[in-house]
């Protein structure tokens, strides 16, 4: 028989610690998604540009990042960059940088497909009323693309939130790190991991539900 006696007081005693860790993870995910979207958007336009060199460079970035494990990217930035003389990032910033670069590659593909799927008629209508090229992007193409790609953006946020657990590898005190910490200090293995898992699950689910609402709100297309 398994002889493990649950003692959940270790969780209640550490509730504040765990909550902070959860919020930190969320913050890291949101920040990385925001920066990643920006990178992805610029990369998508670059990818579609007539400039072969630019679009080729972005293609290499996307393919490279998609083939490299995220943990390796984190280690490279955290341990590798200081060797190259880049020392101004702390571990939080390093992690956000890694996750943003990673998210950027995936968002690039999402946005590229989104931009390519915008029906030509909308662009022609925006030309016909006299909008200038950047205005056509700003007021017609991007808003429509945003609505088309919203489900993918949501999925990416959930996936990035789960990926924040990798920050534990460089001692960023997010949820996974916190759970391991509680383990180490109290030897309450099951309580810590079960709680962490439940928190990941609930949060991911909550994000999904919240974003479903946003999607519904913006489902003004078709």
């Amino acid at each position: 028989m398994i002889d493990y006696h649950f003692d959940w007081t270790v969780i209640t005693r550490n509730a504040g610690f765990l909550a902070d860790a959860l919020l930190l993870g969320l913050g890291l995910a949101v920040a990385s998604l925001a920066i990643g979207c920006l990178i992805g958007l610029l990369a998508a336009y670059a990818r579609l540009s007539r400039w072969r060199l630019l679009s080729g460079a972005v293609w290499i970035y996307v393919e490279l990042i998609r083939c490299i494990p995220l943990l390796l990217l984190i280690f490279f930035l955290y341990f590798g960059l200081p060797e190259l003389g880049v020392r101004f990032l702390d571990k939080f910033e390093t992690f956000v940088a890694a996750l943003s670069i990673y998210a950027g590659a995936y968002m690039c593909e999402v946005f590229r497909a989104g931009l390519e799927s915008i029906p030509r008629q909308y662009v022609e209508a925006s030309k016909a009323i006299g909008l200038r090229p950047w205005q056509r992007q700003r007021y017609v193409v991007l808003p429509v693309m945003f609505r088309i790609t919203l489900p993918s953006i949501s999925n990416n946020l959930i996936s990035l939130f789960k990926d924040t657990s990798l920050a534990a590898a460089i001692a960023v005190p997010e949820l996974t790190f916190a759970a391991r910490q509680i383990n180490a200090n109290t030897f309450r293995v099951m309580e810590a991991w079960l709680t962490a898992s439940a928190l990941y699950l609930l949060t991911a689910y909550a994000i999904a539900i919240a974003l479903r609402q946003v999607e519904r709100r913006y489902a003004a297309i078709r």
């Binding site: 909308y122 022609e124 016909a128 009323i129 006299g130 200038r132 205005q135 078709r222």
Partner: protein
């Protein structure tokens, strides 16, 4: 005294991948006139309209709006393409209504109308809103101004599209088969709006297969055939005494609506 020429096309040519689609179109639209293009599918009607508002670049000849060449400027005898900003400014003076409505899907009816007013003409939000309400009312949709395109019927969407185009106070309005994508019972409401625009003195160039409507509202009709103007004249002449054999057979397809049709 005659009205000034608003749009003047001279020898306009256009080819797609070596296929000559327009083979030298000449056409004048006087201020306040309604001019219509008719012709078989593939004769180049849409292509010509798209050249007028620069959705396509014509290859040869010239198109003048108020005497100013569209899309190009003359530099020592050479044609130089205008900058995108200049092209956009020229397009703002020409409105276009499309067969498929092409409303911006993320904006409400009134948002569709105000976008150009605020971003192109630089009007304030309040003023743009007022203009939008005026035109949505004119096309009979004041009750629907807060609706998105997907909440509107085809006929309503097309009327919003007309409001969007005419609110910009263009010099010229282009209509490309704007009732072809509509269910038959919705055609009349759109034609009514177009008729009232024509009566208010709007200069219009239209492509249509609604022959009775074309005959009723047009001052001048051109029959296009394989990229050329085969017949042109006032509607009474084009529709009632067509001398051209192919025009007769073309008109004959419209249920023998017109007296002189042969078959």
């Amino acid at each position: 005294m005659t009205d000034p020429i608003l749009l003047q096309a001279r020898g306009v040519t256009k080819s797609f991948g070596g296929v000559n689609v327009l083979k030298g179109i000449d056409l004048d639209v006087l201020q306040g006139q309604v001019v219509s293009l008719i012709g078989a599918s593939g004769s180049g009607k849409t292509t010509f309209l798209r050249c007028v508002n620069l959705l396509e670049e014509h290859d040869g000849g010239e198109i003048l709006l108020d005497g100013e060449p569209i899309g190009y400027r003359d530099q020592g005898g050479r044609r130089v393409r205008l900058s995108e900003a200049r092209v956009s400014a020229q397009r703002a003076r020409i409105g276009m209504v499309f067969q498929q409505f092409n409303l911006f899907p993320h904006l409400t009816a009134s948002g569709n109308v105000t976008l150009g007013l605020t971003k192109v003409l630089g009007k304030s939000k309040a003023e743009a809103q007022e203009i939008a309400e005026h035109w949505l009312d004119r096309v009979g949709l004041s009750a629907h101004s807060a609706r998105h395109p997907y909440e509107l019927s085809g006929g309503q969407q097309q009327r919003v599209a007309i409001a969007r185009a005419v609110a910009m106070q263009p010099r010229l309005l282009l209509f490309d088969e704007v009732t072809s994508a509509l269910d038959p019972e919705l055609v009349a409401e759109v034609l009514t709006v177009m008729r009232s625009l024509a009566e208010s003195g709007m200069t219009m160039l239209l492509v249509s297969h609604e022959m009775l409507f074309v005959r009723e509202v047009s001052d001048h009709v051109l029959f296009l055939e394989q990229g050329r103007v085969a017949v042109e004249g006032p509607p009474s002449q084009v529709f009632d005494q067509p001398e051209n054999e192919r025009l007769r057979s073309f008109l004959g397809r419209f249920h023998g609506l017109f007296g002189a049709s042969s078959a």
